[in-house]
Every structure is written in structure tokens, then in C-alpha cells.
């Protein structure tokens, strides 16, 4: 804009562009490596803890198909898929709310899923007296997953209804808090009336990968594929939102519609993950953070990398939860909470000392 402008269009400044691309490639390679190694460790971790030496024996043993094919493989792959769903949902949530502290459970999906689970458990406990125990067990098993899924989506729907759509961010966040508190109170009330539901609810709240089977994997893989494609189509909208909501609107985005689409995506991802593995804490919050810190970029990169990072984190957390006090297991949600919490504490220390 000055009259003295001379052509500075020389290639000298491309160094930082390639540095960015290199950082992204390097992180992608690290994530891929972490996933591959994590999967291998997951297969080699059994009731004796992390035992790579026993793995060969397990593979050639009589129970190989059962042990590896039906138990370790699905839960290990499942942990990766749940982590990917949470990482992706977290990245979408942080983008759509323009807040690095946004979390996929923010909009009432956690409380909704919790309530769904409690309702089914209470119904099973109540019905256990009248129907056969086998039927009650079946209701509990199949019912829990669907109830958590429906509950999570119902929680978000209530939040969207209360906020009358996704036009106002603050209203949406407030509605999420209100619905979370209300649904949480209802579940507490039910657990008071039916104490049996409390144990099951607690197990669900802590998160676990131990119930994951092949059909659950297929469902989550289909969901993840769909969500990655949909989210990628909205990646530039999330980029535009970094300029502020009015600027994004002035660029031609119908913000109400775009935001609603994004909220539905993150809710679907969260509901899928929560219904299969319970409330696994912190993965959705931390995965996008780690990606942004190591290799920032546009959302086209951020969304996919966060999904990969989430998968890697939960894989490793799952291995740790199974290996640490084998043959007992820690709830994987406790491990992610400890890991995620420590990371955030470390991050805070870095920020304050810097």
C-alpha cells in the first residue's frame, strides 16, 4: 500500500511454510507410529498384564481365536475408534465454540447418556423380580448401549430446544449447563429410589473398553467415516469462525445452519463413543490441544489429526489401564483423567513460567 512498494515476492520466506508442513508431517508420522505400537501392545496385554513374551504362546494356543479375536482385538481397536470419535468431536467443539476449553460433553450429552443408563438399570432391577434373570441381563446388556446413545442425543436435543437453535453461542453453552444439571439431578433421584442402578451408573461414568465387540466396532467405524467426511466439508467454516462470528457471516456463511450442522456432528460422535465406552474423560479436550501445540494449521488438518491423536491417546490409556494392576483393570476413564489432568497441569506451569 505504500508508494515505495517493491516486489518482495522472493522465495526466501518459504522457509516457515515448509517448516509448518514438516511439523505436520512429523506429527502425522508420530501419531501413526503411536497407533501401530499401541495396537500391538493392546493385543499383547492380557490378564497377566503387558506380556509380549506370552503373546506368541497366546497366538498359538487353543484359545487364540477367543482370546485375541473376540476379546483383545475388538477392545483394542475399539479403544482406538472411541478415542478417534472423541478427538474429532473435541476438535469440532473447540472450533465451533471458538474456545480451546470446549469439550464434546458440553452440550448435555454426558448427562443425557448417564440418565439413559440409569433408567435402564433401574428398570432392569425393578423388572428383575418379575421376568427371568436371563431376560433382565439381556435388557441390561443391549439396552445400556442404546439407552446411552438415545440419552446423549436427547440431552443435546433438549439443549438445542432450550437455546432455540444454535444461533447464539452463549445461550447454547448456558442451555448445555442447565440441561446437564437438570438431567444429572433426575439420575441422582432415580439412583436414590433404586440403589442397584448406582453401581452400574458408576461403572459407566468411569468409562470402560471391556464390552466392545465386533458389531460395535463396525458401527463406530461407519460413524467415524461419515463424521470425518462431513466435518471435512465444514472445515473452512471452522477456519472462518476464527475471525469471529460476524466476520464469518460477512463471508457468506449462514451461521445458524452451519453451527447446527457442526453441533449435530459433534453430538453424534460423542453419543457413539459414550454409548460404547462410557464417559471417557479428557480425550476430547486434550487431543486437539496436543495437535495445535505441536503442529497448528487449518481445520482440514486439525480435525483429522485430532481424531488420530485421540485414537493414540485412548489406545495407550487402555493398555495402561489393563496392564497396571493386572489381572485387575483400572477404569480407562480414570487413566485418561489422570493423564489428561497431568498434561493440563504441566501446560499451566509452562504458561506461567514462560
Amino acid at each position: 500500500m505504500s508508494t515505495s512498494f517493491v516486489a518482495t515476492n522472493r522465495p526466501g520466506f518459504d522457509a516457515s511454510a515448509t517448516a509448518d508442513a514438516t511439523a505436520r508431517r512429523r506429527l502425522a508420522a508420530w501419531i501413526a507410529l503411536a497407533i501401530v505400537v499401541g495396537l500391538a501392545c493392546g493385543l499383547a496385554t492380557g490378564s497377566t498384564g503387558f506380556a509380549p513374551r506370552d503373546f506368541w504362546a497366546d497366538l498359538n494356543g487353543n484359545d487364540a481365536a477367543l482370546l485375541l479375536g473376540q476379546i483383545r482385538a475388538p477392545r483394542t481397536l475399539g479403544a482406538a475408534l472411541v478415542g478417534a470419535l472423541l478427538g474429532l468431536s473435541g476438535a469440532v467443539a473447540q472450533g465451533v465454540f471458538r474456545n480451546p476449553l470446549a469439550d464434546p460433553y458440553l452440550l448435555g450429552s454426558a448427562a443425557g447418556a448417564g440418565l439413559g443408563v440409569v433408567l435402564v438399570l433401574a428398570a432392569a432391577a425393578l423388572g428383575g423380580a418379575t421376568v427371568s434373570p436371563a431376560t433382565a441381563a439381556w435388557i441390561e446388556r443391549v439396552g445400556l448401549v442404546s439407552a446411552a446413545f438415545v440419552g446423549a442425543l436427547a440431552g443435546v436435543s433438549l439443549t438445542l430446544t432450550l437455546a432455540s437453535g444454535a444461533v447464539h453461542t452463549l445461550r447454547l453453552l448456558l442451555a448445555g449447563v442447565v440441561i446437564g444439571v437438570l438431567l444429572g439431578a433426575v439420575s441422582d433421584l432415580i439412583t436414590v429410589v433404586s440403589p442397584d442402578a448406582l453401581r452400574g451408573k458408576q461403572a459407566f461414568m468411569l468409562g470402560s473398553t471391556s464390552f466392545l465387540g465386533w458389531d460395535a466396532l463396525a458401527l463406530m467405524l461407519a460413524g467415524l467415516t461419515l463424521l470425518v467426511v462431513l466435518a471435512q466439508r465444514h472445515a473452512r467454516a471452522l477456519d472462518a469462525l476464527t475471525l469471529g462470528e460476524d466476520s464469518a457471516t460477512s463471508l457468506g456463511l449462514n451461521l445458524g445452519k452451519v453451527r447446527l450442522a457442526l453441533v449435530l456432528m459433534l453430538s453424534l460422535g460423542t453419543a457413539l463413543a459414550v454409548s460404547q465406552a462410557g464417559l471417557v474423560a479428557f480425550v476430547g479436550l486434550v487431543a486437539p490441544h496436543l495437535v495445535r501445540r505441536r503442529a497448528p494449521g487449518t481445520h482440514a488438518w486439525l480435525l483429522v489429526a485430532s481424531a488420530g491423536m485421540g485414537a493414540a491417546i485412548l489406545l495407550w490409556a487402555d493398555v495402561i489401564s489393563r496392564a497396571l494392576i493386572a489381572p485387575e483393570e483400572l477404569p480407562v476413564g480414570v487413566v485418561t483423567a489422570v493423564l489428561g489432568g497431568s498434561y493440563l497441569v504441566w501446560l499451566l506451569k509452562q504458561r506461567t513460567s514462560a
Binding site: 500500500m1 505504500s2 511454510a17 473452512r236 476464527t242 460477512s250 463471508l251 449462514n254
Partner: protein
């Protein structure tokens, strides 16, 4: 050929307060500066003209030029508006993780939508916008690594990259140092007097010395338009002194150009 923007009896209510009262104006090609004291409603007027602020009454029409139909800014889909009008926010509430180039490229969303793949013409528009604002040399730096003034120039480049014929800029000179303020004034002149594709620029300005170089001055106070005309118009100058409560002096120099000074010595 020239883009025109027409506001008819625009009223805006924020909460219980009427911020704009029956503002009617027309903006054509050229550089128009919107001035007035704090709280006069300048930013609100700009947002109302851009179709971003719902109106309590009135209408805003934009005629993009040629034989096109005028668009009602408040009933047109955002995507259609974005092709003809670009708006620069007052304070960049940018989160700042994108690079300069990635930020400027966002301006092309106005043309490409969310899914369009950029072609050579898009890259050219982005390069030109960065060249005009002198942000090309650090196009790969991240926004949060820039100073306030540098960032302001990047956000201006983002607006220019839309190639919209009507530019509404809310305090584009904020954080700019003196050389870049001067350069910006020259840029506005160049954009609005470009023979092949003249732009219309409406900018809210706090820097009166720059505002007095605009082709036309709109003086806004307490939500009503107080004066409208070239800066040399004595009535406009009088209105300016009045709305600023006598805190400024306006004098004419040897060439008859108005000069402004703060009335610091008056008791």
C-alpha cells in the same frame, strides 16, 4: 457500473435503547468516511448496512452495479451478500492460529463457498490483497506472532481478497503507525479511483486528519446523521466541530484543504 448502497429510514434498537434514528443515506463509488464521537452509533450503522445487524425499521439496498437487481441486504442470503459487500470488524477478535496467507485466503470463501477449490485466479487475488497491504513478506507467519498494526493489515487484506465492490471498514486505521496510516489513505484513493473496477469504500475513522482526506464525510451523532458532504463544505466542518464539543479546530491551508487540530490550549 458503480456499486451503490442505499439506506432508507434505518432504525436500530439495542436492548431498550434506540441506537440509530431514521438514518437515510446513499453511498456510491469513492471513499466515504464515517465520523462521530464515541457511542454515536457508527459501528452499528456499518453493521446495519452490511446486513449483520437486524433493523427495527427501514431498509438497506445494495446495487452491485451494471444491470444487476438491487439486493435487500436484510433479506438476501449471506452467500449472495458476501460476493458484493465485504465488512471489516472493528477489533479483530481473531484466535490467531492461522498463518497470514491462510487468513487472507478466507476472503475467497465469499467467492468459492465452503467447498469450492481455489484456482489460479483465487491465488492471484490473495497475492494482490497481501501486496496492497504490504503483508506478503510475512505471509507464512501466524497471526498471534504479529503486532496489532500488522494484524490489522492482514485483516484488511482478508477483506480485499473478497474482491467485493463495496467495502465497509470499521476503524481500519486502528493500531497502524503513521506511515501505514498514510499508506492506507493512499490505498483507499487508489481502490476507489481504479478506472477498471472502482470500489466504494465506507470507513469508520477516528483519525480526523485522515478522514478529512476522504471524498465525502458523514457526521453521525447520537444515532442521527448530522452532516453529509465533502470535507471542504463549511457546513460539514461546522457539524464536525459541534459534535466533538469544540474539542477540535478546523482550518484551511494555502491550497484550501481542511486541517484539523485538537483544541488543547482552549480552557
Amino acid at each position: 457500473m458503480n456499486p451503490t448502497l442505499q439506506a432508507l429510514g434505518v432504525n436500530v434498537r439495542l436492548g431498550r435503547r434506540d441506537v440509530l434514528h431514521a438514518v437515510s443515506l446513499g453511498i456510491g463509488a469513492g471513499w466515504t468516511a464515517l465520523v462521530g464521537p464515541n457511542g454515536a452509533g457508527k459501528s452499528t450503522l456499518l453493521r446495519a448496512l452490511a446486513g449483520l445487524q437486524p433493523l427495527a425499521a427501514g431498509q438497506v439496498f445494495l446495487n452491485p452495479g451494471a444491470a444487476a437487481q438491487p439486493l435487500d441486504m436484510h433479506r438476501t442470503a449471506p452467500a449472495e451478500r458476501a460476493r458484493v459487500l465485504a465488512w471489516l470488524a472493528q477489533q479483530g477478535e481473531v484466535t490467531g492460529e492461522l498463518t497470514v496467507r491462510e487468513t487472507v485466503e478466507l476472503g475467497r470463501i465469499a467467492r468459492l463457498g465452503l467447498l469450492g477449490a481455489p484456482v489460479a485466479a483465487d491465488r492471484k487475488a490473495v497475492d494482490r490483497a497481501m501486496t496492497l497491504t504490504e503483508s506478503l513478506p510475512w505471509q507464512h507467519r501466524r497471526l498471534h506472532e504479529l503486532s496489532g498494526g500488522e494484524r490489522q493489515r492482514v485483516l484488511l487484506a482478508r477483506v480485499l481478497a473478497t474482491e467485493a465492490p463495496m467495502l465497509l471498514l470499521d476503524e481500519p486505521t486502528t493500531h497502524l503507525d503513521a506511515p501505514h496510516q498514510v499508506a492506507l489513505a493512499r490505498l483507499f484513493r487508489r481502490l476507489t479511483h481504479d478506472r477498471s473496477a472502482p470500489c466504494a469504500v465506507l470507513s469508520v475513522l477516528h483519525d480526523l486528519p485522515i478522514a478529512l482526506r476522504a471524498d465525502r464525510l458523514l457526521v453521525l451523532d447520537a444515532g442521527t446523521l448530522q452532516a453529509d458532504g465533502p470535507p471542504t463544505d463549511p457546513a460539514v466542518q461546522a457539524a464536525l466541530v459541534r459534535v466533538f464539543g469544540g474539542a477540535i479546530h478546523i482550518e484551511s491551508d494555502a491550497q484550501g484543504r481542511p486541517r484539523v487540530a485538537l483544541a488543547l490550549d482552549a480552557a
